[in-house]
Subunit: 407 residues, 2 copies
Amino acid sequence: MIYLDYNATTPLEQEVTEAIVTALTDAWGNPSSSHEAGIKAKEVIDNARQNVASMIGTIPSNIIFTSGGTEANNMILQSAIEYYKQHYNDSSTDIGDTINCLPHIISSCIEHPAINEYLKYLQHSKQAEVSYVPISSTTGRLEVTDVIKHIKSNTIMVTVMLANNETGIIQPVKEICHSVKSLVRHEGETQNILVHTDAAQAIGKISVDIRELNVDYLTVVGHKFYGPRNGAMYVKGLDSNDVPLYPMLYGGGQERSYRPGTENTGMIAGLGKACELVSLNREVYEKTMLECRNYLENKLEEYFPGRVHFNGKFEGTERLPNTCNVSILGEKYHGYKVLSRCKILQASVGAACHSQNKPSSILLAIGIDESIARNAIRISVGRSTTTADIDRIVEDIYQAIQSIDQE
Amino acid sequence: MIYLDYNATTPLEQEVTEAIVTALTDAWGNPSSSHEAGIKAKEVIDNARQNVASMIGTIPSNIIFTSGGTEANNMILQSAIEYYKQHYNDSSTDIGDTINCLPHIISSCIEHPAINEYLKYLQHSKQAEVSYVPISSTTGRLEVTDVIKHIKSNTIMVTVMLANNETGIIQPVKEICHSVKSLVRHEGETQNILVHTDAAQAIGKISVDIRELNVDYLTVVGHKFYGPRNGAMYVKGLDSNDVPLYPMLYGGGQERSYRPGTENTGMIAGLGKACELVSLNREVYEKTMLECRNYLENKLEEYFPGRVHFNGKFEGTERLPNTCNVSILGEKYHGYKVLSRCKILQASVGAACHSQNKPSSILLAIGIDESIARNAIRISVGRSTTTADIDRIVEDIYQAIQSIDQE
């Protein structure tokens, strides 16, 4: 079998597994304990925090470890709501009536469920008003001007993923942030619109640097870049309260009380190592994956001349170097059907939790025809994928298509 | 160094580490993926869920994996609040005015911060009314009659830890549950008072069986019984909605949408293995630890005749087999001071996150004099602690006391 579903999850790098085992074996003490076993564990965590911070160009005090991306994303959204409640919607403060209503969050219609489902919950529980900005069918991405158009007096946050998990399309987060932060806000309007990006799919594949993006919050998800299943969040100037962060959990005071619970030292050590590897080798990873993905797309065009459509390819729009979302054109070639006939390819029709029989809502949202979207296969290559692997899986797809033809 | 702080955290059993490494290496696929890599991961999780369930005498569908005990405890409390909101405090339902107020939760004043701090948050945010039942200074534990006295028409939950982390004192959870469930509730009162127990310190040390306890919710914390830093919760009849559970996080639908986020397969596999070991060996662990702890207490009395006070020892009250909370009597023998003079003993003055210079609030709550509480040292033995270790650390404490005397 050849696994080409690296956007769903990645194996752990050998060095990451080693870092986890070392931490579990040698640094198993409670990081809050004041004796030697505790001090050792605390050092491992400090070191990992440094590695996460360095990877994205920030300082360790801006990093909070979480159980994963879902928790990080949810907590960041909830923080914006809580901040709004305390600053703009408290009956004891008098800031004029104009924004004395629900906080408004702007997002896109192609976000991961960890954003999307939480936003639905916030809407349903009447905690927030949400605008889902449509995607341009010309560029396949969210356009800055469309985001700005949706900003209102009560807008408190803009949250946009850095790269889409199904298409690999990179969103103009830096530009969105710049435009949002440049807006002149009047009295009776929220004074600082917070900007968040979920960088789950981008890290380890393209450069992700806080100093460039300038966002207020960023989500890090270990298992998308050969790390473990925990995560972290970047919060701008956390110690000086530059931007708000409120805990969702309450307990023993770990992570400066923002995220209590005895620290998962093993996983944290693994995440730190995975970040260190990205800091050291990201350009090499990017180059290798890009070559492989381009080779794959050329091969597919060669095998199916005039019959392939690359769903993430838009003129002038950047994509992740590893992602190929492709439809073999033809009424019978539904993505799930083609994959079920493949003998060696392990890929998916979209996100891992996506239902098999419906066309992907992400693809429909970026303007792909339903008949094409239904045929989509997401092939995402990894760090060690070779052109020989590609040769084999393209042949595999070819045989799958032939077997469907012969039905 | 001799580590005798097993109530703070435990090392991982070799087999647990192996289970984690095997899962990280062989079952790293996304459990939601429909291809082989995903199916393998799902099997590992199913197997672990079976092991957690078996350990506490229930079925796998009543188990939800969480990132740890803090999350489990918080989520269970929040579920009670949400349930009350939806059933007793919704303006659209008419159940009479009597309980149209805040939900009431009963707890003890010796709970872990993961309960205690969340309760404070609920009070502070005006989501709940909380009663902290005092501890009997005769028995050192929470008494059933005292719990029952605090029940009101709007009581929705009783949450009491199964065994205290500092003293090892076992609380009468089974009896509390029985009494609470036997109450005749009148119209205008909550009809079902939910009972939760945090079994963090009890599992692996004493028998913990749902069929006996009959609680609605129970919290499992891996790292207290030689497992990893994740956790699980038992929820009675979850699939048939016997008792309510509401998610705190929203995302990709994992854990039947109660706890979304890509499953931490490695940690889950480790937790499953740790539970399996407890199912197989708990009685042996209990016996070994009990012998060691009793040997320790005899030795301490021998070394400091008439000068030791065992803070968790009350006539007729059961204690965990591994915990010895001891004060060496004398004005200068503050717990933190004694420990700082010890050369080989790694122990603590109380919970890991407890401030060193104040007497433990837990000890004060059970009626220990401030002058004695200030001197407390919590020594908690583990599965592999030997009487030879005890000999060495008692001598170590003796030397520490001598060095203080010679100041």
